[in-house]
Amino acid sequence: MSYKGFIRYTVRRGVVLFLVVVLAIYITIIVANMGGKIDEFVKGDLYLQIAQQVKRDPQYKNLPGSEQEKIIKMKYEQEIKRLGLDKPFLERSFIYLKDAITLNLGRALYMTSDSGSRLVRNIILERLPATVMLFTTAMIINFFIHLFLGLYLSRNYGSLLDKIVIALAPTSTIPGWFYGIFLILIFASWLHILPYGGFVDVPPPPDPVDYALSVLKHMILPLASWIISGFFLGVYGTRTFFLIFSTEDYVEAARAKGLPGSLIERRYILRPALPPIITNFALGLIGSWGGAIITETVFNWPGLGLVTWKAIQNFDTPVIIGVTVIYAYLLAITVFLLDIVYGLVDPRIKLQ
């Protein structure tokens, strides 16, 4: 019986989130096109495509330039009408919306993907794994550090270590990318023991093991910067959290029942605390996607963030819009996964 409820819940969340993503993308499009930016590149791209088509077409190849121009223009007008791009703003926006949802994000103005494609979708998706790899690793490392240290501290609260952690909690308001600049300053610029940035040594080592090690070496500083940033507040937060949960009545009842301490910790403190802990984790994950842009710029990490940075530098409008759309999807997927895990862990959800 609970499985049906769970599936119903999952489907419901999925549908709701999808609608939300659609709305979010729609807002993005409206805002982006307020200055006609989308129209610009869509039409420009279209013109380019038609011009190329015409110039290659044996029918028209050998015509003089001015003739070609006229034909191109005529075909262009035709296409505009066919695609409905001459309709008013609101209608156009829905056309763009459909494209955006299906990830038909057009072609970049200047940038290309490593594989040579000009499609915005490819440029972005190609870089996505690097971002996911870096930030998910950072989040997971942070999660476990905060969990175990927080648990340890909650058992020994009031100790000197506890006081130090509390005192240093404000250092977490400084974002990871800022620490990153300093780490580069110390370890790359001054001590020369770690690389300034990038994904892998240049030229990349041919041996796959060496390659992997090189990538790991390049991951050290970006990971460190986010670990340092989140450390004190994260540990303090989970410690306070566990403290509050360990003062619950049912924990005292468990002690009265004569259950051993480790069992109480696992079953009576950790288990009930899982739903909010997971929520925090997911929120942190979502937040880290945002911080990714600056971090990757600082470290030259070839991920989604760096693509954004390059797109800004080059004024590559379609890529900038495409990145925003992809981020919206990323967030929606993260929230969806969070909801699923939450539903698994909190019995109150399953049964409603």
Binding site: Y250, A256, K257, G258, R267, P272, P347
Partner: protein, 320 residues
């Protein structure tokens, strides 16, 4: 074994250290309890009743200042046991406790049946299937349908949860069950139901209960003996019959006078003043500032427990 009571408490003390000073929550409390007897501990809020429960089950907070005395269960002094020994051999297997506000005594993410069965699995090593079966039986015994064993606490009503907690407290067949205000968070009808359940269990099982409450009328339903607590001390300890008809200590008398009776016309009285602070209790007899029968000696010396009649003790200079 005649002559040696099942539970002997001597000079039990539990003091807390707070920012404002030392709180003497349980201040040299002594009493005996026979097997199958129910002792009701009555008193106002803040008199130390709940701390008594904590002292007996060693559920101490971090800021304990003093914890000593003698607590003998079947001849063995529990205070001499180590934490681990106490946990394994005494907690729940010999002494269990039903908390105030049982709504929160159950872990929200574990099934009810599992929680009831848990002590069996942990203390007696009973395999899970069998333990769950016993848990279901226990639920049935307290009047909750077995199917609720597979439910989560939030799916049960307040009354049902309280019953479940009682079932949980009984499942290991302990010698002593402490009930700390088990019904104060419930409506009157549910309260009556729970009291009936407790009476039935008392009859069927020959368990010893310590029933802690501020509701004197309620206590009369179960009590064989009554102890009145005031400012961390027991000021009167006697048989229930004796207490409800002929209380000796001025405080007890005021208490009984403040309880409305159903069938007789009674002029209700109240006790002036406020309960004393456990930080700095009044010198001498702690009740003397509010007592209308106080004599000068009451403010100077603390009265000892005087045996007024057989097994009837009063801590008052009037009976010296």
């Amino acid at each position: 074994m005649v002559g040696v009571a099942m539970l002997e408490v001597e000079n039990l003390r539990l003091y807390y250290a707070t920012r404002k000073g030392v709180v003497k929550a349980v201040d040299r409390v002594s009493f005996d309890l026979e097997r199958g007897e129910t002792l009701a501990i009555v008193g106002e809020s803040g008199c130390g009743k709940s701390s008594m429960a904590k002292a007996l089950t060693r559920l101490l907070p971090r800021n304990v200042h003093t914890y000593d005395g003698v607590v003998r269960l079947d001849g063995k002094n529990l205070m001499e046991l180590s934490e681990e020994e106490f946990r394994k051999n005494v907690r729940w297997s010999q002494i269990s406790i039903v908390f105030q506000g049982a709504q929160n005594a159950l872990n929200p993410v574990l099934k009810v049946g599992f929680q009831i069965a848990e002590p069996l699995m942990v203390h007696d090593g009973v395999p899970k299937e069998e333990a769950l079966k016993k848990a279901r039986e226990a639920l049935r015994m307290v009047g909750v349908h077995e199917s609720f064993a597979d439910r989560y606490p939030f799916e049960l009503s307040g009354g049902m949860r309280q019953r479940a907690v009682i079932a949980m407290a009984l499942i290991t067949n302990p010698k002593l069950v402490i009930l700390d205000e088990p019904t104060s968070a419930l409506d009157v009808i549910t309260q009556a139901n729970i009291m009936n359940l407790l009476k039935r269990i008392k009859m069927e099982r020959n368990l010893s209960f310590i029933f802690i409450t501020h509701d004197i009328a309620l206590s009369s339903e179960l009590a064989d003996r009554v102890a009145v607590m005031y400012a961390g001390q027991i000021v009167e300890l006697t048989d229930a019959e004796e207490f409800y008809t002929n209380p000796k200590h001025p405080y007890s008398q005021k208490l009984m006078a403040s309880v409305p009776t159903l069938r007789t016309d009674k002029k209700l009285e109240f006790i002036p003043g406020a309960p004393p602070s456990l930080l700095a209790p009044p010198p001498g007899c702690r009740f003397h500032p509010r007592c209308d029968k106080a004599i000068p000696r009451c403010g100077e010396e603390e009265p000892p427990a005087i045996e007024v009649k057989e097994k009837h003790y009063v801590k008052c200079w009037l009976y010296a």
